[in-house]
Symmetry: C2
DNA sequence: GACATTAGTGACCGAGTGTGACTAATTCGC
DNA sequence: GCGAATTAGTCACACTCGGTCACTAATGTC
């Protein structure tokens, strides 16, 4: 049980006890927006809103609003930073006061968002897409959010069909595989990828082919999940140490 | 980019601009404490701290404190509710105002904690362990936290060696398997379980046997992780639909 | 038409997993 | 004492899954 309000007597309970008075906290919602850029994954950063440090970059963020759900806030902040909303969002982690936040907020809730390839950053150099290995120095809490968001994204990749949200309604399997490779940050073997995809009944071919430059034309597919996987695996002990 | 503070001029930036004024929010930290009770998993609930609804149950919670890290707060709240600290904690989810919280806080950060079997609830009927299928009605946000915490616990089971924290330093493999079964909520096959455990190099036998009632005595083991698994799996498409 | 390039599939192999059956060592009931 | 019951522990088989190589197919380039 949590600590009692000081008004409650140690032995009995007073007939009318006051509710505990809770101090209000500074709480931000921050979003890590990813988009593929060629074969690299990039993160959206904006110029610091603190006018005393305009040369610094930071993740898009805003204060949490009591009347607004957290995921709605994340989408709003993304739309506000980018013009368009993300194709998918997910909560990543909440962090407290031990690491500095650019807005000096006490607590922050980080979201992850995916944006389709080709979405331009807004005008005027106030925002930009940064490849993962070229991210400028960030406030510690924002730096940790980027790392956590990337880990969460890769965990989520084989749980939900997030990759399809980065593609147009019809796509080739090579396009799909490239999206997975960019998000995972590693190459996949073509035959393995297609075998797993086939077993999952996630896509269906349509009667169209697309020829892109040289090479054999590729059949187009569309996202059409059919079966549910039972997926009853045993214990896996996938530990690291 | 997020909305500008109203003090910044629409065209240029004033020479000295004020930082955006952020409204403070009511933020709680709530903890879902699990412990095995026989072959069932149970959750710790305490009497509502709101004196106007003492007959209701709720999860242990308290307001977040700016000077205290969130995981430290979760441990403190657990210790305050139970006397002893949990063997392991993990952040589960942050939730906003759409669901009611018993303390009427605007935002909450839920933690999950594991407590070794046999830890008694504190005196006086102010707290109790409830089996998962006998949980009394809770505030909507707390009900959702319990469900999320259980899902998170099961996800985490094959990622980190959490089950070992519920056991004494030496244990039999049947004990270990039973802990996994209680946490997962389903039976496991003995041979599969031991084969996977052996492959993961997590335990080592010690030169002691324990006889519990009838049946062949079981060898004792201790947690002693040896190797690191490479664990490079391909894409898995473990979707539900 | 030879070649490069991209798409797509088949087949093999080894590792991993679900499962039933078996042996081993103890207590309980008689 | 002795068999039945009970729990511990292992083995072996079948099947699946995932990594890999090799091959065919269809296009553009020269």
């Amino acid at each position: 049980m949590r600590e009692r309000p000081q008004t409650s007597a140690p032995a009995g309970r007073p007939a009318v006890a006051a509710r505990p008075v809770i101090r209000r906290a500074l709480l931000s919602v921050d979003i890590v927006l990813f988009t593929p850029h060629g074969r690299r994954l990039t993160v959206l950063l904006v110029r610091a809103t603190d006018p005393r440090a305009r040369e610094r970059w930071e993740l898009p963020w805003d204060a949490a609003r009591a009347e607004e759900a957290l995921d709605v806030a994340a989408s709003r902040i993304a739309r506000s930073a980018l013009g368009a909303g993300p194709a998918w969002t997910r909560q990543v982690v909440a962090s407290g006061g031990e690491q500095r936040h650019p807005g000096e907020t006490e607590f922050s809730i980080a979201y992850l968002g995916l944006v389709p390839a080709g979405t331009p950053p807004p005008v005027g150099g106030e925002a930009g897409w940064f490849p993962l290995d070229e991210i400028p120095p960030l406030a510690p809490r924002h730096r940790a959010m980027v790392d956590s968001a990337l880990a969460m994204l890769r965990l989520e990749l084989d749980q939900s069909p997030v990759a399809f949200r980065l593609l147009p309604p019809t796509f080739t399997l090579s396009q799909l595989q490239e999206v997975y490779e960019v998000l995972l940050g590693r190459k996949l073997h073509k035959a393995s990828f297609r075998r797993a995809l086939h077993a999952a009944w996630l896509v269906e071919p349509i009667d169209e082919w697309r020829s892109e430059g040289r090479g054999r034309p590729a059949q187009l597919f569309r996202y059409a999940p059919k079966k549910r996987r039972t997926g009853r695996r045993g214990v896996r002990f996938d530990l690291l140490g």
